[in-house]
Each structure stands twice: as C-alpha cells, then as structure tokens.
C-alpha cells in the first residue's frame, strides 16, 4: 500500500529526489483554476455552497488535520515538554471555556455585558497563549522571542476595545492558516515550488479583489431561514451592516473552500508522504515504544465521528452546524502550536 502511495507521489512529482520544478507549473495552474471556478460558483450560490461545503468537508478536513498533527507529534517530548504541555493544556482549556461561553451565551445566564467581557477575556487568553508558545519555542532554539509579548499585549488592548472585531478576524483568518501550513510543507519538501505557490497566493488575492468589486453593491442575501441566518451571521453580516452580506458570505465560503482543499488534498499529498490511514510513519504508533493500537483506534474513532457528523448534518443541519462550529474551535487552536513548530 505504501508503495502505491509513493508511486502516486512520484507520478505527481511529489517524491523526494524528483527533478526540481517538475510539476510546479501544473500545480499552480490547477490551484488557480480551482480558485477561479470556486469563486465563480460561490459568488452565484453562496448560501447553497456554504451548506454543501460544510456538510461534505468539515468533518473529513478535521480528521485530516488530526492525522497531520498526529504525524508531527513526537513520541518523546524531551526539551519540548514545556511547549507541548502548554500547547495541549491550552487547547483543552480554551476549547472548554469557548464551549461553556457559547452554551451560556445561548441562555439567559449571560447578560450582554458579561458576554462582551467574557469574549474579550477569552480572546486575550488565546493571544497570550500563542505568545507564550512562541516564546517557549524560542527558548528551545536558544533564541530570544520576547518581542512577542509587547505585540501580544498591544493586540490584547485592541481586543478589549473592540472584542467582536477579533472574533470576526478569526473567522476570516483561520482559513488562511492552511495556506501557511502548505507553504511550510513546501519549504521542507518542495522548496522549488514555493515561487509558483507564492504566485498562486497573489492570484487568490486578485480573485478576492475581483469578487469584492463585483459583489460590492450586491443585494443582501435573504436570511429569513434558520440556516441562511446562521451563515450570514457567521460571516459577520450582523456586525458589518454596511457591507453586502452576499459579499461577506461569498468571501468566507471561498476561503473555507480553499482551506478544505488545502487540508484534504494538497497538504496530505505534500506533507504526509503516505496514505492517511497508514500509521507506519506516525511516531506515536511506533511498534517498539509507541502505542500503535491506540493510535489506530483513535484514527478509526475519528472516522466514526466524521460519519456521525454527516448523519447529524443530514438529520438537522442547523443544530449540527452550531454544535460543530462550537467544538471545531479545538482544531483552530491546535493549528497554532504545530504551525509555530514549523516556523
């Protein structure tokens, strides 16, 4: 099976030692064509495509991210013990706090004031947690990264003055993190592709600008239904009242689609170097010192969760979407430490 994966990688020019720049141009062409096609469809049917992409790809892309992080987690933490302890502890605590805040926010327990202050506290906590991780990683590498603290404190000040801007920023910036992961993976495995890839990112920015120009004066989307209301609110339509909700939703869905594409196709092809379900390259699944059965069982359990999520979406899309985006904050948070280690 592994040889099949290597053969696939070779055919795509992804194997180590492949001729330099082989595949860079087709890669860029496919990437840009995908972005153009996605933006055209999304601009026409933003709500429908938002529903479809979340339904189809939300679960699988989470599973793939989990698989990627599992492959990057060392068996012995060694000098990185403080880093991984802070990272995993932060992911768990911040996720629990977020879920608690969300659940309480939907009830009468929280007034608007308490909600705003709690949001600002949570936002400050995530910024300081990331700053702490950058600093700890710097100490591991004997580099002074204390400059992150003034930046983090300044950002925290901004977060307290405008808490909901940060939350909205997370919604739009999180999809782009996948592209950063992809850049780091390319740097490690296909550095000769990076120039083409950076051109792709420029093209994506141009496509976004063109879409904004086209949709700037578009009428707001009909958000009368439960699902469409959730989608427009998620994109910030309740907050950015002066901007067409059609433009906001289209932008968000396009970025999410690219995000899903990066995690489901590009990063596995470039970064995993084996089939995702194979555990032989996962350090934690090492037969000698690791937990191969447990690792396999966790991956299978993750697959079952994906199937369950599909079923739940089918039964009640709106409720499942709410629950999914509440607990999906865990994967947003988990990206931070693994990205920091790749930098």
């Amino acid at each position: 099976m592994a040889s099949n994966a290597q053969a696939l990688n070779r055919s795509l020019g992804l194997a180590r030692g492949a001729p330099s720049r082989t595949g860079a141009l087709p890669f860029a062409a496919v990437f840009i064509a995908f972005c153009i096609l996605a933006s055209s469809l999304v601009a026409r049917l933003p709500i429908q495509l938002s529903v479809a992409t979340v339904f189809l790809f939300a679960g699988p892309h989470n599973w793939m991210e989990f698989r990627f992080f599992l492959g990057r987690m060392p068996l012995h933490w060694g000098r990185a013990r403080t880093f991984y302890s802070t990272a995993l502890g932060g992911v768990v605590l911040l996720t629990v706090a977020y879920a608690g805040l969300y659940l309480a926010g939907g009830s009468w327990y929280l007034s608007q004031t308490t909600w705003t202050v709690s949001t600002a506290i949570w936002n400050s906590a995530i910024i300081l947690w990331i700053a702490g991780l950058v600093y700890i990683r710097g100490r591991e590498r004997r580099r002074d990264r204390s400059f992150v603290f003034p930046i983090a404190f300044a950002l925290s000040a901004a977060v307290w003055l405008a808490p909901f801007w940060f939350s909205l920023g997370l919604v739009y910036l999180h999809p782009l993190i996948a592209l950063w992961f992809l850049d780091r993976e390319l740097k490690r495995r296909r550095p000769e592709w990076r120039t083409a890839y950076h051109g792709c990112l420029g093209a994506l920015a141009a496509i976004l600008v063109l879409m904004w120009v086209r949709l700037a004066s578009a009428q707001n989307l009909d958000d009368g239904g439960d699902v469409s209301w959730r989608i427009t609110q998620h994109a910030g339509a309740g907050f950015l009242t002066g901007v067409s909700s059609h433009l906001l939703v289209s932008t968000h869905v396009l970025l999410e689609t690219v995000h899903y594409g990066a995690w489901l196709v590009l990063i596995p092809l470039i970064g995993l170097n084996s089939w995702p379900w194979k555990t032989d390259r996962i350090p934690l699944a090492s037969p000698r010192a690791g937990w191969p059965r447990l690792t396999g069982a966790v991956l299978i359990a993750g697959g079952i969760v994906v199937l369950f999520l599909w079923g739940s979406f089918y039964v009640s899309y709106a409720t499942t979407r709410d629950i999914y985006f509440t607990f999906a904050i865990a994967h947003v948070l988990a990206e931070a430490p693994f990205l920091i280690r790749l930098l």
Binding site: S146, F149, A152, F153, W160
Partner: protein
C-alpha cells in the same frame, strides 16, 4: 430720636426690598428625602446638537428606551436601571483593561529593546525606532482626532453650556418629540440661529 427714625426707615427699606429679592430666588434644591421620579433610577447619555437647516427643536428618544419607560410606568423600572448601569460600567472596564494591556506592551517592548539593542545591528535598531515612532504617531493622531470636545464645557450637561442670560432662567420653547431607532442616544437637536 433721629437715630431711632433712621433705624426704622432702614428696616422698612430692607423689608420692602426683600420681597422682590425673595421672589427672584432660585427654586429650592431637590429634597433628598423626597421620592424621586422612577426615571431617575437610570442614567442615560444625552446629546445636544444643532441643525443648520432645521426649523424647530426636536428631541429624539431611542425606541427601546421609550418602550422601557412605558414599561417603567407599569412598575418595571428596576431591571432597566440595572441594565443601564451595566452598560456604563462596561465601557469603563474595557478602557481600563485596554489601557493596562497597552501599558504592559510599552513596558515589555521597552525592556525587550534595551536588552536586545546590542544584538541588533544598527539598521534593525533604526528601523525599530522609526517603526515605533511611526506607530505612536499614527495611533496618537487617531486618538487625538477622535478625542471629544473640551471636557469642562461639553462633556456634561450643566448650566455651563448655556449663555449667561439663560443660566438662571433656563430656556423654554416647543420641542418635537421623536422616537428613533436604538443606535442613537437621546438627542436634543436645536435649530441653528444665525
């Protein structure tokens, strides 16, 4: 005898002049023991502004406040008072915590710069200083541009905003009451008089 007559005349003059002086006295200050109207339980912001082309004064009241005032008439003012109090507290807390974080940013940034200036090459050091000055200049410009009018006169509703002739007497006239959407404070718009 002359002294006695002059003293009587002085008292009579005082009594005679006391009547108009007493009549011109300001009204009694509010009695602390008396029951205040229910609306005073909640303080809400109010803006006085002018309308260049307007023909008459208007008083705009946010719709939610209007509805709450109506509810207050039914004895439901306590929750409203609490809500309004929380709203005022939030803004203050946000500013205080943001200021605290900004102070920490300055302190940590300064410490980092002092500690690492030997390691930084002159170009990076100069770039950092220029960047910091530019950041503060931009932030300072934005803050200064958004600063409110002078506090002594225009940030509180006292008689200091009135012309001297109106300070004792106040001003009166007709006002058009308007119930508006919730994104406005209570606004008294006065027509501009050239």
């Amino acid at each position: 005898m002359k002294n006695w007559i002059s003293r009587i005349a002085m008292v009579a003059f005082l009594l005679a002049s006391a009547a108009p002086a007493f009549g011109d006295l300001l009204p009694d200050p509010p009695n602390r023991n008396r029951t205040e109207p229910k609306a005073s339980a909640a303080k809400v912001p109010m803006v006085i502004t002018r309308e260049y082309k307007g023909s008459g004064a208007t008083l705009e009241i946010p719709r939610s406040l209007w509805q709450r005032l109506q509810a207050e008439g039914a004895g439901d003012n306590q929750q409203y008072g609490a809500d309004a109090g929380r709203g005022l507290t939030l803004s203050g807390a946000q500013t205080v915590v943001a200021g605290l974080f900004l102070s920490l940013a300055l302190v940590f940034g300064g410490v980092w710069f002092v500690r690492s200036r030997k390691r930084l090459d002159p170009l990076a050091r100069t770039a950092f200083l220029i960047g910091a000055v530019a950041l503060f200049a931009v932030a300072g410009g934005i803050v200064y541009g958004n600063a409110g009018p002078p506090p002594a006169v225009t940030r509180s509703l006292t008689t200091s905003i009135l012309v001297p002739e109106a300070r004792n007497w106040g001003a009166q006239g007709q006002v058009t009451l308007m119930v508006v959407d919730d994104d406005h404070p209570i606004t008294l718009t006065l027509p501009d008089k050239k």
